[in-house]
Structure formats: C-alpha cells, structure tokens
C-alpha cells in the first residue's frame, strides 16, 4: 500500500538545493528577518538568486566555519533568522563546539544548513564527505535535525525550519546531484513525524535522506516475491518519531535501517537504542561501516560503501530469516 501523497512514478529528478532556495527566497519576501549567511560557499543559487534580490541580507564571512556559526548565533541574537549554509563536514567537524555552545545551548533561532551530508558526495573525496553528521549532532541536546529525502520534502522542511522557533539543522545531500522526486506537493510535513511511504506487514525499512528512493525500489522488488515491506521516511532525525519506530517493531517484528552515513550512532544506532529498550526485535543496519569514504561518483561511492539496493535487499532477507528462526 502506498501513501496518498507519494507520486505514482519516480520519473522526475530535482536538485534539492533548487527547492531549498525557492523556499528561502519566498520566505525572505514575506519576512524581513530572514538572512542568508555562508562561508565562501553559497550552495546552488543562494548567492545569485537570494543575493540579487536581497543584497543587504546576505553575509559571506569567507572561509571561517567556526566564525560563521557563532556569528549566525549573533545574527539570531539581533532578532534575525539566519539560514547559514556550510559544508556538512566543516560544520560538524570544525564548528561542532559552536553549534553546541552558540546555537543549541543558547537555543538561537538559527538554521544551520549542512550541505553535502553523507558519504555520497564523492566529487571531492573523503576530506569533504561526512559520515558522522547524524551521530555527532543528535547527541547535542535540544537540537532539531531535519533530513529531507527529495525536493518536495526539502522545500517543506525549509518552511518548517523557518516556522519553528529555535535551532534547526537542515541536513542536505550532494549539491551536484538531482534526486527522484518522491512526493506530490500535498505532502503533510511535520517536524518529528516519519512518513510511511509504503505500508507492509513483514518487515520495516527505516531510511533517511536520498536513499528513500532506493528503499522503495527494494520494497517493490520484494513485493514480487511475496514479502510485504513497510518503508518509513525518517524525515526528522531529532526528535526521532519513536512511535513510528516502535509501531514498525511491534507490527512487523523485523527492522532494517538505511542511511548514507555511519551506522555507529547514526539512524541505525538511534533505532537500535529505542527498540533494544522498548521492543527488542531483529535488526540490521545498512550504512557506512566504521570507515571513511572514497572519491567517486555518487553511484560509485554508494557501491563502495555497500549502501546500494542489493545490500538493502540482503539485509531485509537476513532479518526475515532471523525473525523466522526466533519464532521457532
């Protein structure tokens, strides 16, 4: 069974940043508090489109990620709502303390947009890939982390981030790639809610970000073999939709998590924590193992990191087998 706002086909693809920028410009038109800040790195058209229309509301601090994030807190302290764009790894890696201390601890109304998150952006290699963004950031108290999966959810996440008073991390994928559009614009976006993109009885795949499309492909394939797969798009990493996780565990008895970052403390870790305490079931975590990425196209990198559909399918088959053995 499919969810009502899922498009019938995944036949068009869009760059998430185009959708993000569209929302950002629309927001800025109606709210003078919206400003854009970045460090020599305006993703997509932020610099051109936003900057052309709002030259007085764009702040480029050069290559200085720590200063970028702390000064965004200062902008928020001035009553503005900064959307602060930063490479994922340099935001998480170089400005972790600033995100923690200046953004989260002080509950600044700042939106940190982490670009090129996950391992799939292989164009610049391991120095520019971030496998640990979810693991590192979800440990920070009182931080909202959004992880949209296509252009529609990304546009809605941008609006939701602006409407939410408080710190938000918007976790976006590779700037250079287009990804299949999954949803119709009817999608009801709600922070803290997973979206069930496919109903199923035998197993639940919990997936976040751009790998949702792959998870759906796997679910559709397995349907042909008589396996009923539920797929949950975990659009909010924090607060995680525990109810949806536990319902998946109770109702299907087997879970597979899928992500483009490390499974250590990532979405897989989060789901395992919840179910281990409240509803232990068999689980497999598909994601980057305890390793760094490699250079390559996104297709090559996904294969290299063993997060392509065949690996998801294998994990599903493993949990189904384990579930059957447990039942005996």
């Amino acid at each position: 069974m499919k969810t009502p706002y899922l498009r019938a086909k995944r036949d068009i693809a869009e760059n998430l940043y185009a959708a993000h920028n569209r929302a950002l410009v629309a927001l800025a038109r109606r709210d003078p508090r919206i400003v854009s800040s970045y460090g020599d790195y305006p993703p997509g058209e932020v610099g051109e489109v936003f900057g052309k229309e709002f030259p007085d509301r764009i702040i480029d601090v050069g290559i200085a990620e720590g200063h970028l994030v702390t000064s965004a807190a200062g902008l928020a302290g001035a009553g503005l709502i900064p959307f602060t764009h930063c490479h994922g790894i340099f935001g998480v890696g170089r400005a972790y303390n600033q995100i923690r201390q200046n953004i989260a601890y002080d509950q600044r109304n700042a939106k940190i947009v982490l670009c090129n998150c996950g391992v799939t952006w292989g164009g610049l290699g391991p120095s520019h890939q971030v496998v640990e963004d979810i693991a590192a950031l979800r440990a920070i108290p009182k931080l909202t982390i959004l992880s949209p999966s296509d252009a529609v959810s990304c546009e809605k996440a941008t609006y939701a981030a602006a409407a939410h008073t408080g710190p938000v991390i918007l976790r976006l994928p590779s700037t250079g790639d287009a990804y299949p559009t999954l949803y119709t614009t009817d999608l009801e976006y709600q922070i803290g809610k997973a979206v069930c993109v496919r109903e199923g009885r035998d197993v639940t795949i919990l997936v976040t970000g751009i790998l949702v499309a792959d998870a759906l492909t796997v679910a559709e394939e397995l349907e042909q073999t008589g396996v009923s797969v539920r797929v949950l798009d975990m659009q909010t990493i924090k607060p995680l939709d525990e109810a949806a996780v536990l319902a998946g565990a109770r109702e299907t008895g087997a879970l597979v998590t899928v992500e483009d970052g490390t499974i250590l403390g990532g979405l897989g870790g989060a789901v395992a924590e919840i179910t281990a305490e409240q509803c232990p079931v068999v689980i497999r975590r598909v994601g980057v193992k305890d390793r760094f990425g490699n250079s390559g196209t996104s297709v090559q990198v996904k294969a290299d990191c063993e997060i392509t559909p065949p690996f998801v399918r294998r994990a599903v088959e493993e949990v189904l087998k384990a579930k059957t053995q447990h039942a005996k």
Partner: protein
Amino acid sequence: MGIETLVKELEAKARKLRREALFVMKEMGIGWLGGSFSSADVVTALVFYRMRHDPHNPQWPERDRLIISKGHSCEIVYAALAEAGYFPREELKTYSHPGARLQTHVNTRTPGIDYSGGSLGLGLSFAVGSAAGAYVHATDANLTAPTRRYPAKYRVYCVVGDGECNEGQVWEAAANGAHYRLDNLTAIIDHNHFQSTGMVEKKMNMLSLAEKFRSFGWEVREIDGNKMSDVVATLDWALTVQGKPQAIIAQTVKGKGIPTYENTNCHFVKITDELIKIGQEALKD
C-alpha cells in the same frame, strides 16, 4: 555631572561590585577572582555609564549588547547586573546552584546576559554577528560600503580575555568585523597578562595585541584599564569612530583591588573567610 564626580562615583561603584563579587564567589567556595577583578572597572563603566540598556526590559531590541567572551569572569558581571536591578541581590546567593540562573560561566539564563560564555574565543564572533545584525535591521546593510545612510540601532560591547586571544577564531572575527566596517562594535581586551595556569607571554606570546587589531583594520587605543577616567574617556572616544570597529587594549592587573593577590596567578582561587576579610578591608570606601 562633572567628569570628576562621575569618575569618583564609578570608582566607588567598582569597589562595591568587587565586594559583592566576593560574596558571589563565596557561594561556590572558589572563584574567578583574577579575571573578575581585572575587568571590574570596564564592566562597571559599561553597565553604569556607557551602555544604553533597561534592567526592566532586558530583551529591549535596541539595547546595547554586553558580550562577555571571557565567560568565566562572571561574578563581577552578576554583581553588576544585580546592582543595576536586573534581578534581586538575594539571587546572588544562588550562584552555582543547579537550576539557578547564575551559572558558573555567564549564561543567557541570566537577565542582562546576551551570550553564554565558557568556550573561549567565540564571543567576538557572536559580537560581530550581533553588530552586523544591527545594520541589517537598519535596512542599509551593504556591510562593506564606505558610508551608510542609517546609524545602527544599537552598539555591541565585547569583553575579551588576553589568554583567549590564543584562539584562532578571535582573529576570524577580527577580520570579519573590520571587513564589515562595524563601527558599532567595541572590543575591550582585558589584558591582565595571566591565563589559567600562567603568564600569557610565557604560554604563547601573542606579542602586541594592539598591532594585531590595528593590522586587521580596527581603530585601537591602549589604556590603563583599571583607571576609571581612562576607561570612561576611551568608551566615549569609541562612539566617535566611523567605519571601523574599535579595540580597547585595557592593560589591567589580575586580581586588582586586593593588593596581596594583585599580579599573581589568582585565576581561580579558593575563597576563604580570611580572603573575604582581607578583601572587604582592601575594598572599603
């Protein structure tokens, strides 16, 4: 009020705040004596003379901002804010208690505090963002333009420690503040020459902080930061600077006010009854 009377009043206020700060420290039994006392005159002049602020409306959008980047020097700030009327004096007794608004580093839970310190080297970046934000609000951001049509809505004062100037981000902020011509931003460097475990010149000698800020494009004055007449005059001077942020290198004395502690490494010291006694005697009017 004549300037001499004003200075005398502020000097008396600074002495009182140091006495109050000792009681704040006593609550935890240990205190940031050195840095609180070295910066006491600057904090006094800011809160009771130069800054536009309203203790009854701590979130007034157009208030001048007080950013204590050296967030450990909190006792003197809490004493000043209580004295100014941001919260009752009795609340000073809750300092360092779990759940209290007065945490052991300056903290936005406290009315009158705009920035939570503790992680060193970050405050000046926050101040740059806040100062830039004041111009964005004035709808004439054009932050790098040589002239602006509208004045900023408020000024930002940032008290920076000399030890924390080891942190690279201080200089990212310095470059950005000058690049954006933030003349509504004044940094006061509390140059007391000691950091946590020794003299700043022996830990990592940053050589001349004045030359550094000047080379980054700031207007710089070097003053005796424990001489109230100098502090007042230099804060007045800062208002007259256009198109550049200002750095006031305040040469101060660690532990200023209690002679037996002055210029010693009294960064974080045990607050004994004996110290309180000596302190109250040294700081009496």
